[in-house]
């Protein structure tokens, strides 16, 4: 094996693995052990109950949709913030991070106040037949809110580091504006965009605090998975709660893994 340029590989790897194990794997292992108390039959019964299935659909469906919306809008916002100068740009830039800073319960209460039938927006929307608060649509709105900063903040630095020369070269070589974007810029942004997408998705799947206020929480209709876990805990059914937690983790992990693979693939594709 060739000598590495930087010394201390063994030490830093050991440190990394120990830290990951302690902070991430240990709690997850405890969760899995708790869930295993159910046995395979019990696990299957819990996970295939109508409530869990409905909540799975809502949690992952709304989270995926919110991440897609955040990817599109986030890319636009990042583009505008990097490529244009306009009065108040720094202010808008700072505003992007606000959903991070706000305690999620506060966000949930604020959104519910806006969209409730008597709220500022709700008072206009509900007569038009658009009900957001206390419906699955409300879940989506809350998830979009908490996941918004991720895509902007991952795409922004990449966009800033892009050389204008590339675009100029593309134009000189006869590419149209659309072609410059789709064939030259977009592939370069895609890995960062996917990272932001994955982060927004993961955040939305696990979100409880803000969603719970606006969702309405009607069983089989607007119940998210974390609420199903809380319901199990209230019945002092720890193993069932852990089982739902494990399935959530497993699905999230698969999704994140798929995104990471997709990212690797696009990177290779761009380099070619």
């Amino acid at each position: 094996m060739a000598r590495r340029v930087l010394p201390g590989f063994g030490l830093s790897l050991g440190y990394t693995l120990a830290y990951l194990g302690l902070i991430v794997l240990l709690p997850l292992a405890a969760l899995a052990v708790k869930a295993s108390g159910l046995g395979l039959g019990g696990l299957w019964d819990t996970l295939t109950s109508a409530q869990v299935l409905a909540a799975l659909r809502l949690s992952f469906g709304a989270a995926l949709l919110s991440a897609v919306i955040n990817a599109v809008v986030g890319l636009l916002v990042a583009w505008v913030l990097v490529r244009y100068t306009f009065p108040g740009r720094r202010l808008f830039d700072a505003l992007v991070d606000l959903p991070f800073a706000l305690p999620t319960a506060v966000a949930g209460i604020a959104l519910t106040t806006l969209y409730a039938p008597k709220g500022w927006l709700g008072a206009w929307l509900v007569p038009l037949g658009v009900k957001i608060a206390f419906t699955p649509l409300g879940v989506l709105v809350a998830m979009i809110f908490v996941g918004f900063p991720f895509v902007v903040r991952t795409v922004q630095p990449v966009l800033e580091s892009l050389d204008r020369d590339i675009e100029e070269a593309a134009t000189m070589l006869g590419a149209s504006r659309l072609q410059t974007f789709t064939r030259v810029l977009f592939p370069l942004l895609l890995p960062a965009l996917l990272t932001g997408f994955a982060l927004a998705l993961a955040r939305a799947v696990g979100e409880y605090g803000s969603v719970i206020f606006i969702a309405g929480n009607i069983p089989l209709k607007s119940e998210i998975l974390p609420l199903v876990i809380v319901k199990q805990l209230e019945q002092h059914k720890y193993s069932d709660a852990a089982a739902v937690g494990v399935i959530m983790l497993a699905l999230s992990f698969l999704l994140l893994l798929a995104i990471s693979l997709l990212q690797r693939w696009t990177q290779r594709w761009t380099e070619r």
Binding site: S49, P117, F134, N217, I218, E234, H236
Partner: protein, 334 residues
């Protein structure tokens, strides 16, 4: 020089420790549910005064508040509560099942170990525009009912059981008719908050729904806090006797050596002084004298208990609120 400095520091630290131990001879931890915050604040002060007069020791009762089920869980997970004062016996039973206290805990104090009670009433908008007088009005198609989720809120389980008990008492009432009645009621529920305060917010601040099902103590407090010109309290013809029980956690009290004072603390809840404080905070006192004094606050209402109608919490929980139970079978919302 350095050595002596170290000794000085050590000495002063020791002093600090001794001083702290002296200032609070005994501390108790009372793990309670959410809306008892103000009530126990006044009771704890009064108890400390009396204990000091009787025994000469000072007692500080620390409080922990939260949803009843969550609080029970914390105690199971190792929160060292000397006493628990929760919203329903089911949550204390869960502690007994873990061996933290004896299974006979509810027989150790008078009145099912419940020093004060409440009942389920309706909070409606001022002037009662939908003319809601009794449980039967809640299933009308144009009425929207706000209640928290019985699965996540101990308080809401009382709401559900009160409605069930009402339907059972109707002429020709049976489990089948009660189930149909409760199903019709929950079809009128547009939002299921996870806790009682959340439901109150939805009803009072968001303006959702025509009627809020609530503990009488919460309804009266909400009317006082949020404005008597905005809400009316409607007392139905019959309701459930909500019994939030209290118990000493044997394992913890023995470990701390606080059994005597913990037991005295719970007995103190039954004294006329504490009973009056309970009434002031809108809990119905067990003590006849205190009840008579606050009769204007608490209108007469026929109540039934969970033991009479449902055979106790364990049975009610298994039948109605377990996974696949009756509550899961009826649909919520339109």
């Amino acid at each position: 020089m350095l050595k002596s400095l170290r000794r000085t520091l050590l000495g002063s630290l020791l002093w600090l420790g001794v001083a702290a131990a002296n200032a609070a001879d005994i501390t108790l931890l009372n793990v309670s549910y959410d809306p008892t915050r103000e009530l126990y604040k006044s009771i704890n002060t009064a108890f400390a005064v009396q204990w000091k007069a009787d025994k000469g020791d000072s007692v500080v009762v620390n409080m922990s508040h939260g949803g009843s089920g969550k609080q029970a869980r914390s105690v199971v997970d190792g929160l060292e509560a000397d006493v628990v004062t929760l919203a329903l016996a089911y949550d204390i039973d869960a502690l007994a099942q873990k061996g933290l206290l004896g299974a006979d805990w509810q027989q150790r104090l008078p009145h099912n170990a419940t020093p004060f009670t409440s009942t389920i009433v309706f909070l409606v908008r001022k002037g009662n525009p939908k003319a809601i007088r009794d449980w039967g009005d809640l299933v009308k198609p144009d009425v929207e009912v706000i209640t928290p989720n019985p699965k996540t809120s101990g308080g809401a389980r009382w709401n559900y059981l009160a409605a069930w008990g009402y339907a059972l008492r109707l002429p020709g009432g049976s489990d089948a008719t009660a189930k149909a009645f409760v199903a019709a009621l929950f079809r009128n529920v547009p939002v299921l908050d996870t806790g009682a305060r959340g439901a109150t917010t939805t009803f009072a601040q968001r303006g959702v729904g025509d009627v809020l099902l609530a503990w009488e103590s919460e309804a009266l407090l909400a009317r006082q806090e949020l404005g008597a010109d905005e809400f009316d309290v409607v007392v139905p013809s019959v309701s459930i006797l909500a019994e939030p029980p209290v118990a000493v956690v044997d394992k913890v009290a023995d470990k701390h050596g606080t059994r005597a004072v913990a037991e005295a603390y719970l007995k103190f809840l039954y004294t006329p002084a504490a009973q009056e404080m309970a009434a002031k905070h809108y809990y119905r006192p067990r003590d006849a004298a205190a009840a008579a004094k606050y009769a204007a606050v608490f209108p007469n209402i026929t109540t039934f208990t969970i033991d009479e109608v449902f055979g106790g919490w364990q049975k009610a929980q298994a039948t109605h609120f377990s996974d696949g139970g009756v509550f899961d079978q009826i649909g919520v919302g339109k």
